[in-house]
Each structure stands twice: as structure tokens, then as C-alpha cells.
Homo-oligomer: 117 residues x 2
DNA sequence: GCTCCAGATCGACGAGCATCTATATACGTA
DNA sequence: TACGTATATAGATGCTCGTCGATCTGGAGC
């Protein structure tokens, strides 16, 4: 019988051996990963991550009109980013008259945070 | 002089008052956010987040040939995702003969992890 | 030399994204 | 009712992304 180094990883697998620890990946972890990737994707834009950062630093709700001058983008574009964050379940908003106040949903980042640490 | 409720947030700002806590955003935090957004973006694809998950679960280095059968994508596509993770500074690789072994760079996710918690 | 194999790169294609301007919605005020 | 203001939506545009098949690279063995 040949020694390990004379077999390719594929041949090793066929022979019941491996070039490294056998890798398995249960469906539970897969679904978990899908949800976290959605959150990470929403945070993957610099503007959106900064938005979340600002909202987190300012406990409570922040008016949209305070957010617009912070970034060098148009108001509709900012609104678009806020919608993306809302769709990802990271933030939510409350309307008071003409103004909209956004805030980070508690525990929205919990799952991703736990996985990262 | 009018009372607060009769002023728009913009008028309040002009008058030195505010509809909410004044929002400031120092450049230090901005640069910080840019780096984290880059990492989050790399983790924002389900395949890539699962790749990092697998690599983290298997301490040490995992052979690419073990990773390919885990996902329903072609080998070039997997290689592309690994490159994205490498470009983001999340993983690195080592070649041993024909095979390439990937591993997560220690502390690569530290900054994002700290921010999230 | 030549051949085989693992992995990376290339080129192309369709889908999605970030951004803008223009417009709509909805509320407050006169 | 009519007007102004804050935010959201619509439509267009150019760029980026994920994916594939085909090809390239370079190490191992004959």
C-alpha cells in the first residue's frame, strides 16, 4: 500500500483517508449563515455602517433631517439606505408628524455579533 | 418667539435648537467604519460567510479540495470567493505542493466583532 | 521531455446595487 | 382650500457582483 504523500486528496478521500480533517457542514449552520450574511450584506456599505454607527451612538431615535447633512449623498439616496437597513431588520422608524425618527432594533446584531466572537 | 413645535427641524437648527440630540460624526469613526464595512461586505455573501464558518470550525488549515464539494458552485467560483476573503484580509492560504490550504487570519474579525458588541 | 492534476485566472453574461433627478405622499399651517 | 416642508418612491444610468466555461500555471510523476 502506498503512503499518504503518494495520494492526491481526492484519492485519499476515495481510500477513506483525507488530506485534512474531514469537513462536514450541517444544514442548521447553513440556515444560520444565510441569515447572518443578510445582515452582514446590509452592513457592507460604508454609508449604511456609518448610519448604524450614528444611530447606536445616539441612544434613542434620530431624525432623518439630522442624518442627511452628515453624508455627502442626496436625501433620496439616504432614504434608500435606511430602507435597506429596515429590510434587513437592523433598524426601524417612527413617524411623528412630518419627521421620521430611526433607531437600531435591540438585538438585531446579536446573532452576527455572537458568531464573530 | 415661536415654541419648538411650531418649528421644523431645519428651522430649529437655524435657531440653534434641534428636533433631536445634535448628531456629530468625527472622521476617526468614519475611517473606522470604512474598514469594518469592507470586512462586512466580504461576509455579506452566503457562500463566503459559510466558508469562514467552516474554516473557523476546523482549527488549522483546510484544503480547497475539501471545500469544493460542500457547496453547489463550480471550482472557479469558489476560488473567486476565497480571493475576495483574502483581499478583505479575512483569510490567508498556504500552498503545499499541488494543494492549497486556507485558514482564517487570527483577529481579522476582531474590529468588527468589537464594534458589534 | 510529456502528461496529469489542483488551483487560479480570464472573458462574458445577467442580475443587482448605489446614485441621481423628478415626482409622489402625507402632514402642518394659513 | 391651497401652499410649504419632510420623507418616500419611481425611473434611469453606470458600475459591481456572482456565476459559468475555458484556459492558464505550476508542481508531481512517468
Amino acid at each position: 500500500m502506498l503512503v499518504d504523500l503518494e495520494l492526491s486528496p481526492k484519492q485519499k478521500r476515495a481510500a477513506g483517508e483525507r488530506c485534512c480533517e474531514p469537513v462536514v457542514y450541517p444544514d442548521v449552520q447553513r440556515e444560520h449563515a444565510l441569515r447572518m450574511a443578510e445582515v452582514a450584506k446590509a452592513l457592507g456599505d460604508p454609508i449604511r455602517l456609518q448610519l448604524v454607527d450614528v444611530l447606536r451612538r445616539h441612544a434613542g431615535k434620530v431624525c432623518v433631517c439630522e442624518l442627511v447633512p452628515l453624508f455627502d449623498i442626496s436625501q433620496p439616496t439616504l432614504s434608500h439606505h435606511l430602507k435597506k437597513l429596515r429590510d434587513a431588520g437592523i433598524v426601524d422608524s417612527e413617524r411623528q408628524g412630518l419627521w421620521a425618527y430611526y433607531y437600531v432594533i435591540p438585538d438585531a446584531l446579536k446573532e452576527l455579533s455572537a458568531w464573530l466572537s
